[in-house]
């Protein structure tokens, strides 16, 4: 059993860090703890923020930080024993891997010495776990990418990565929910909206979801409803 490290990141926010590494087992534990807290919130609880190997809990002045800390410490010890059956949704996301949208495909292809078809087949070959949502609203950090597809981030980030861009970096893959600067290598684009403030939840994906990518043609992308 992992003994978590517990520390404040704010006078009203405490982090329980199970591991400083990326692993599915740890992330399952993080999500399990999140669900345990949300299903039985303490007085003054505001919200949880799951990350790869840690969960951060925000609370109001209705409760003392010392009390929250000791309560979380007890609960996180229990959570490693309780069932981790908190699987997320399974979601298939259409992606067009046309080089006109996956603008870094030529670079990735020559860097990895893989054909376009091989890149698509590798990227669509596994189901990815959504470890967390962050960076900007709705951005999913997903893993683990097949080893043959690992590429470094760009030396200089692009100033504008279009909304819906599907990108890779290191062992991760992600989707840009808005047009922002970014350093990941763009290999395709999805017509789906990853962030929509008028929807509930506002993020298309949640931490814990399992994602597969489904290749679509440029025509299908352009005609997507």
């Amino acid at each position: 059993m992992l003994i978590p490290r517990i520390y404040n990141i704010h006078d009203r926010a405490i982090t329980i860090e199970f591991s400083a590494a990326i692993s599915e087992a740890t992330n399952l534990q993080v999500i399990a703890l999140q669900h345990a807290i949300e299903s039985n919130p303490f007085k003054g609880f505001i919200e949880c923020v799951p990350a790869y190997g840690s969960l951060t809990v925000y609370f109001s002045e209705q409760v003392s930080a010392v009390a929250v800390r000791s309560w979380l410490s007890d609960l996180s010890a229990q959570v490693s024993n309780i069932s981790l059956a908190t699987e997320g949704k399974q979601i298939s996301i259409p992606v067009c891997y046309d080089p006109s949208l996956g603008t870094d495909l030529p670079w990735v292809s020559s860097h990895l010495n893989l054909s376009l078809e091989e890149i698509i087949s590798l990227h669509t070959s596994v189901a990815y776990r959504v470890y967390m949502i962050g960076f900007i609203p709705g951005f999913p950090y997903m893993g683990t990418l097949p080893e043959q597809l690992e590429v470094p981030r760009k030396q200089t980030p692009s100033l504008k990565i279009p909304m819906g861009s599907v990108a890779i970096a290191g062992k991760q893959t992600g989707i840009y929910p808005a047009e922002v600067p970014g350093g990941w290598q763009v290999i395709g684009r999805t017509p789906l909206k990853m962030f929509d403030p008028s929807q509930s939840p506002c993020s298309f994906l949640n931490a814990g979801d399992l994602v597969t990518f489904m290749p679509i043609t440029l025509d299908a992308f352009n005609q997507y409803p």
């Binding site: 520390y7 404040n8 990141i9 704010h10 006078d11 009203r12 926010a13 982090t15 860090e17 400083a20 590494a21 990326i22 999140q34 505001i46 919200e47 949880c48 923020v49 799951p50 990350a51 790869y52 190997g53 840690s54 951060t56 925000y58 002045e61 930080a65 967390m132 949502i133 962050g134 960076f135 900007i136 609203p137 709705g138 951005f139 950090y141 808005a178 922002v180 962030f195 403030p197 939840p201 506002c202 993020s203 949640n206 931490a207």
Partner: protein, 328 residues
Amino acid sequence: MSITILKPGMMSSVQDLGRWGFQQYGVPIGGAMDKVSATLANIICGNDENEAVIEMTLHGTSIIFNEAAFCAIVGGGCKAYIDDVELPFNRLLWIPAFSIIKTTANLQGCRSYLSVSGGFNVKKIMGSSSTYTPSGIGGINGRNLITGDMLAFKREQNLHAASNLHMLPSGVGISHWHTADLVEVTANVAIVHAIKGPEFDRFNAASQEDIFNSMFTISSRSNRMGYRLEGKKFTLEQQTEMVSTAVTTGIVQVTHEGDPIILMADAQTIGGYPRIARICAADISLLAQTRPGVKIQFKEIGEEESLMRYNRIVEAMKRVKVGLSNTG
């Protein structure tokens, strides 16, 4: 019942106390940079503390009142005038119809908050009126205010303190009472209380020494997301990549180049840089009132003192509220 922005000045936006409950989807808390002053402005106007206010950064803002209204200005970074009459901060003000409030330079402070009694009628997005420009949500169309923007008032103004104003010949009314300045605004060195951060131990000895014993200047490359600091550079004992984890307002993270950044109101929810320190939550408003070019120094405190200082601010706000409700 409305006001119209004639000039937004350096930067003006609609803010409240933040968008809570959506950080797990990557949505920052955001809201007023100086939440103490924004809250005070609302308390003075008899509003709910979380009403939308206008955050004015430094000076150059010009706003016309299309109808007479009660309002309040709290914070720093500017002086406010109607014609030649300087408007005092921290007091309830009666502004006659068609008056224009203009702000001019003030060496102290950085942000001021304008509230109107009853509040502005701004649509809430995900529970908040706060403008968050990177996602284009909140405020007016998710952007900062521009010339011509009109902000309507929510309702007729009914006010506890409408009584007993000091009336100037111009028709401007000023309350006899004022609230205490809860945020100390400085033009010199800002002393900011800070606690060792989660990765403090991973920095080398010189860095551990420097963070609490040297002076920094707030860079002009600072914004609502973060304050970049100029001064000593920081180095990890061992260069290792960190796995991303939650960050929030007040975290002092160190970039790969060794530069510290203090995360402010629009801080992203998750970060991957080592965190050498965190600012006591009670001092965030002071930082928000500290402008680029001003020097700051971190004074090390422990967890307990940090909590105590934070609770003290919470209590002080409560006292102001109780005090005002007893004011005629």
